[in-house]
Symmetry: C2
Subunit: 309 residues, 2 copies
Amino acid sequence: MTDKVVVLTGGVGGAKLVLGLAQIMRPERITAIVNTGDDFDHFGLRISPDIDTLLYTLAGKANSALGWGREGESWSFMESLRSLGGEDWFLLGDGDLALHILRTARLKEGIALSAITREFAAAWGVGVTMLPMSDDPVSTHLMTDEGDLPFQRYFVERRCAPVVRSVRFQGAAEARAAPGLVAAILDADTRAILIAPSNPYLSIDPILALPEIRSALVAAKAPIVAVSPIVGGQAVKGPTAKMMEELGVAITPGSVAAHYADIIDAILLDERDPASDLAIAHASADTLMVTLADRARVARAALELADRL
Amino acid sequence: MTDKVVVLTGGVGGAKLVLGLAQIMRPERITAIVNTGDDFDHFGLRISPDIDTLLYTLAGKANSALGWGREGESWSFMESLRSLGGEDWFLLGDGDLALHILRTARLKEGIALSAITREFAAAWGVGVTMLPMSDDPVSTHLMTDEGDLPFQRYFVERRCAPVVRSVRFQGAAEARAAPGLVAAILDADTRAILIAPSNPYLSIDPILALPEIRSALVAAKAPIVAVSPIVGGQAVKGPTAKMMEELGVAITPGSVAAHYADIIDAILLDERDPASDLAIAHASADTLMVTLADRARVARAALELADRL
């Protein structure tokens, strides 16, 4: 029975699609392959922003007002840190610290990131299989008009202000895919492989930069469908549209499809965007995900497109 | 002008005396030599309980209700940690984490504990010079009827229940005194050296176990006065009295004076306790420190006793 789904995802936008999928099918049949190119060390703590966003979202703990972090978060740590003169450009919530501190301690014990992520997901009753793209460190760097910036410095500290020339994924060429990841992509029971509407350059490209993952996707029998991160000529959140402009491509689903050309079989685009420059199979829908029902609708539309291929 | 004071101190009880001293003299003339035998690593974070208690107390941030930790502390981290299945026998408050995380990060940068402590004290406007006894790791272990227990396992996890046979200070024989510590003890301007009413076996003995510190105290010109941790035949807080019983000594100021025999010149005892078994100079006072005025009174009594010698 081909009823498994694999999703390649970054943080916030991708988590919405995965949550939508979990509304319309058994979460246990979903494997989320999560970007770890944004992972970094801060105060000696290992922080995995996209994994954590997925954990919070799927465990029902996400802060919907902020769009990141935990619901009902408190900030005593940051206040105390500031009073001691500590660097405060990256916000660490009090509850959020538990993930970072426990992850760092487990990594030091020699436990792999994928095993730790499985423990966290189990503790919080998350049914979706969450796989970090790799247990090996990969780090996204942006070549900008201000020089080489590690992801978090660009994204958080400089608030995506620098003009991006190119992006590189340090360590990706040597990184192995996490255990079970290639098998999930190649699994004969896999109905569809989705690329979430995350930032193609910063959230999906790091995953595709792993040779094992790219080869598996090219070899996969299951249809591969991208959900366009563009909605009405804009990005819903984050620097996707700004980066497309800086990289000299039109802010259209056609540019997204071209970017994924050697990987995808089809693209689900927003009904507000032009399909005119699309050379591959596609479908249109309202892809703006505000409510839980929106998330389920977009997930359903992506699966229906995959089923048609 | 001999107007400097040096205090050997552990956590809560000792911090009360140091705060009392800071009420009756310029804090800048006080050097607190702080026990670090209780320091330990937890989740990869370096925790210095006695230093932190002194910081909180002298910065006016101490939680007077709990008797440890920060005023107005919140506990989101612990709640989140428990939900992830993390070990929760040692309580880490949200604001408190800033000290541990920043200290650990600075230690990893190669900064000495004494320098980090100076930074923290300066950030919080603490005028007292706080010196950890050593920048080298020393760790207190208790030989008990349940075997060898590191300090925090005995003190926090087992709540001092095991019967103590002896105490050892791993690393003390090789540890160097922190920079400036021996000079402060030998300083010709030092009016008095006080031993705070901390647990002699667990808070003061680790300090005295450093050969450089013991030699300096023996050579010191300034009078050395211990403040008895016994009040009315009991310990105000912690396992001092229980340990004295287990070690087979009477719970009296005389036993404390005998314990410090080769170091001290006099002892300040509580007016409720017998002076009959005392062979050295002494004075009696109400040494119970509940209010800020109590703390100042005990500090004054200890200095007056020193001045009489």
